[in-house]
């Protein structure tokens, strides 16, 4: 498993070489994104401010940023769950020309297909360690803060060796968590037998019971 120290903007050939399980540290400019931004752009058909075209690494995150004497101070930062943005995943990669998405929970099949087509990866934190990250991040600016609120607005951040993150979706169509699913699936029956639950045991359904249709 390789370790990557990448500089943004990322190029397609670098990203296509990354494999699930690889470790990534990010330097350079990135932007943050949460649901209100994606709804604003993709559902409400608003225009993304022009400067964001320059960035191709998106971090799903809602940082805590305090405004003090006309300066922004980053108080806390943690990549958030990507799963809930699946509806907009493929559109985001296509329209924002993304090469990397940072977030937890991984994403679904539509996003993965677009990653394969365009050359993009998803990377995730393996810890909840905001204090190991905030010193690697400088706030550059933000737009749409009035419209979306502080945590939903797209913050532009300058990162220095921000990481480690692990590639959990690569542009070959692999998902790291599928391999964990296989392990957990094998252990499920073991957990049941520890609890004395028979393999044959079928719980009684108290709702959602439908008449059989032949």
């Amino acid at each position: 498993m390789a370790t990557w120290h990448v500089q943004t903007p990322l190029d397609e050939s670098t990203v296509r070489k990354m494999n699930i399980g690889d470790v990534v540290y990010i330097s350079g400019l990135v932007f943050t994104c949460r649901s209100r931004l994606q709804r604003w752009i993709f559902d409400e058909k608003q225009i993304m401010p022009k400067q964001y075209q320059n960035f191709n690494v998106l971090i799903h995150a809602g940082p805590i940023i305090v405004e003090e004497e006309n300066k922004y101070r980053l108080v806390s930062f943690m990549p958030t769950s990507s799963l809930r943005f699946e509806k907009w995943g493929a559109d985001s990669i296509e329209q924002w020309n993304l090469r990397m998405i940072v977030g937890k929970t991984t994403m679904g099949d539509d996003t993965l297909r677009k990653m394969v087509e365009k050359g993009c990866v998803h990377v995730s934190p393996q810890s909840v360690s905001p204090n190991l990250w905030i010193d690697s991040i400088e706030i550059i600016g933000v737009e749409l803060k009035e419209e979306l609120g502080s945590i939903e607005a797209p913050w532009i951040l300058k990162c220095t060796e921000l990481g480690p993150f692990v590639v959990d979706m690569d542009s070959k169509g692999n998902n790291l968590f599928d391999t964990i699913d296989d392990t957990v699936e094998l252990n499920r029956q073991n957990a049941f037998s520890m609890l004395g639950i028979d393999e044959e045991f079928k719980p009684t359904k108290l709702y959602g019971v439908k008449r059989k249709t032949e």
Partner: protein
């Protein structure tokens, strides 16, 4: 009478402490999990998280930016009197949330459920939320839990009605399957403190599960041996699943399993689960009638009566 000038700063302090200073029982759980973890990736994740938690205390900044739902739990002595009454206590609690949000100890996370509009201060319809328990004596115990979104929104908190015919097997099978669904890819920030409510209406079970997840100390046991056995059995079984820190695979998936129960209509046994994330944010203080304040290291919601 407990004066407003006494309880006001305690409300603020509980919020700030919940965000910046993780309780000792949680720190001990990290120590033990790191010591026994055999997966390199999971051990590194636990170590980094633990290190960041310790820095949060030193720096007095949030241990996690998702400070979630602001939840207050008040244990009120039957003989306790408060200046301005309970409405004044709630007003002071709202003010404390506003101040803590402004200062960055809480993130402005609470928004309108349909429009996403952000009031910027975590105050809105039914939020913050207040839960009361009445006990003997003249003291007031204030507990604050910052309930993170990851462990709440992705299946870590849900309920199901199990047939009485299916007994403990039915209850435990639901819990194992619900945990597997929820814990994929670090969605609920495992290792979790898993709270379980058995019996009552759906809302009673969910409430008990939430309190068991957020307001019981790791290492505590239900006093009834039948329920203690369920706690111990599920703790072993869930940790045998191999979910691990942030779902990367590993030996510790739950720090603890806490079960609470209520008598119920046996047409259907409601079972609720509620997961607290590994960075479990909660803090408590007790105010005595002579205005002295005692900081409580680990939550004691269930001590002195269930």
């Amino acid at each position: 009478m407990i004066q407003e000038k006494t309880y006001r700063p305690v409300l603020y302090d509980c919020i700030k402490r919940s965000s910046t200073t993780i309780s000792e029982d949680v720190l001990m759980a990290f120590d033990q999990a790191i010591a026994r973890e055999t997966s390199d990736r999971a051990r590194e994740g636990l170590k980094h998280t633990y290190e960041s938690i310790k820095m949060a205390k030193e720096r007095q900044n949030p241990a996690c930016p998702d400070t979630g739902w602001p939840l207050f739990y008040f244990k009120v002595g039957n003989e306790c009197t408060l200046e301005g009454g309970l409405l004044s206590l709630e007003k002071a609690a709202r003010d404390a949330v506003i101040q803590a949000t402004k200062e960055g100890y809480l993130r402005s996370t609470m928004k309108h459920p349909l429009t996403g509009a952000d009031p910027g201060n975590n105050i809105g319809e039914n939020i913050p939320h207040f839960t009361y328990k009445f006990t003997e004596g003249d003291e007031l115990e204030i507990m604050y839990a910052a309930k993170g979104g990851g462990s709440e929104c992705f299946g870590g908190t849900r309920h199901h009605v199990v047939a009485f015919a299916d007994g403990i097997q039915g209850i435990e099978k639901f819990i194992i399957e619900a945990y597997i669904d929820a814990s994929r890819a670090g969605a609920i920030c495992s290792p979790n403190i898993l709270g379980i409510g058995i019996g009552g209406t759906a809302d009673i079970a969910a409430d008990l599960a939430k309190q068991a997840a957020s307001l019981r100390s790791i290492g505590s046991h239900h006093p009834d041996p039948q329920f203690r056995k369920i706690e111990e059995d599920l703790y072993q079984a869930i940790n045998a699943l191999g979910v691990g820190c942030m779902g990367v695979g590993g030996d510790t998936s739950v720090f603890a399993v806490h079960v609470e129960y209520a008598y119920t209509h046996i047409a259907g046994i409601c079972v609720a689960i509620s997961s607290n994330c590994m960075v479990a944010r909660r803090a408590a203080s007790r105010i005595l009638s002579d205005q002295s304040v005692v900081t409580i290291k680990n939550p004691q919601w269930f001590e002195g009566g269930r």
